[in-house]
Amino acid sequence: MAADLLREAGARKWFLGLAVAITLLLLALLGGLRLEVVDGALAATRLFGKALFTPIRAADIALRPVFIAASYLIFYGGMAFGLIACSDFAPALLSPGRIEHLLALPVRRWELLAGTFLGVLLLGLLGATYGAGGLLVILGFKTGVWTWHPLLAAALAAVGFATVYAGMLAAAVFVRSAAVSAAVGALLLVSGILAGNRRALLTTMSEGPGQLVFAAWTRVMPPLSTLAETAADVAAGSPVAVGQVGTVVGECALFTAGALAVAVWRFEQRDF
């Protein structure tokens, strides 16, 4: 199922467009970015011939903001793109004529959902890895600074998107609509950002039912903004406590599994 989804995605203009856009951006950096590295120090930067007044500092330190920015772009930009581009995979799976054919095959119901989810997860991972990997290869050749941290950050971005997509998948099982699926994804993204900042936000709220509801809601929601910050720290090579990474990934993973379980519960008992 996952492989079939990847094949189908490859035929869709959205993903072809994304691949082309990432490739063009990387090619632009490859051709247009000139970095003068002297004895490990980034001495000068030129973008399409125009000199950029950048500080002279160690190349690995100078690249940190670049990797951080790229990490945030991949995380949030990738998630926004995925919300729209992947919103109709599940509704298409459940479309009349297709779901009946699939359910008549010797495939368990939950396997259909799992395959769709895995396919989208792989898609997200491929996209994030391509972008991050391309960037670190280009910058590695230009500066001599080689690091695999951006790839780790890309993996965390994929975890974040998987969390949101699990909710989208569950929504699609209840209401077969790409628009509803995308809307639920957007709601999860916003809730995830709020969840990552829940303690700070709770202190600004006065006690009452509103605060209780907010506290309960954000406790269940995955802390996506925290995951994004962690990914950025990882991309920059900043020291990050393994426990911190494990906790935030664990929260996201538990939410993902819970959302998928809800999707399977509904899918198992639904008539088509």
Binding site: D39, A41, P55, I56, T247, E251, F255, A257, G258
Partner: protein, 358 residues
Amino acid sequence: MERSRRRSLLWLLAALVLFGLGALLARGCTGPEEAARRPPPPLPRHLRPAEARRMEQRQTLPPSAFPDRSRPRDPLLTALSAPDAGTALVFEANALRNSPVGQLLLDCLEASRPRADGGASPLESIRELGVDPLQDVDRVAVGDEGMVISGDFSRARWEAAFGGSAPTPYGAQGQLYRVPTADGGSGPVVAAWGGQLLVVADDEASAQATVDRVEGRRPLGQVLRDDQAYGDVYGVLQGDRLAGLFGPADGPLGGEVRDVAKSVELHLDATRDVGLVANVRGDDPARLTDLGKALGGALVAARARAVASGHADDAELLEYARVVPGHDSFSLEMAVPYEVLRARLAHCGRESGPDAGR
């Protein structure tokens, strides 16, 4: 069909359990969002509002009779502003003393003082003269003509401090003291002015010139403007003063600094982290650019050597060091987070104190 319904209920149960576990995990840990994400240390790049207010409060002298100043004047900056002065460096002693870094240094100093003789500490000795260095001193400045200290010296017993010699009145509020040397010769001349300034000059002429400037009888130079008075240490140095920081003054880098850098405007902030900005100016933009690159490379090389030799602490000190090129100048920026300094100074006192070597 019933079996499938029962199975589907298990999925719902699993979902509830998973969401519950997620909620527990969110509650049980301290939360990644609370982990200290250290922001980059702030760097003193311009006059901040608090420093502007501080500057205005210090402008207690009336405008000079000379036409080059039209506003009230800061006594200490006026004392430093000799017409040909090229160097003026001010230490905000009060601010430094009360900063976290200052406390660290003071603690380190106190811990490392040998107590073997059981006698009085230098601070106690000075306090007996009517001046508490930790309470009464506001600023300490170094200029071309000597040192200037500002503060509250109304209870100072200068005569006892300077060998018992009687002062010579000079100007409206000046008192000159000649400090004898050990061999009985004449040493520096100290001018106490208005119970708020203490000038230590090489000779009497310099001391008198300083008092004249403060009292508005002599023209002023422009070595340090009021709007440059930001940070906890600030000032202007001549380029050759910077040369020695990069190895031997006659070495390749030091020599280039001496030749190319005309002046260096220095600012250091120690509010919590320590941040240093040195704006280097010169007459040759091209050589200045090359010098900036060379300095940047030297910093990077030092960090790389530290990393390679396993001195992670030293490398951490150079983490925020960088050179920012400009059109006819460049800025050398360095910063050290407070936590790093605290860790570095944690051994202080244990190594050099009474228990050292055990």
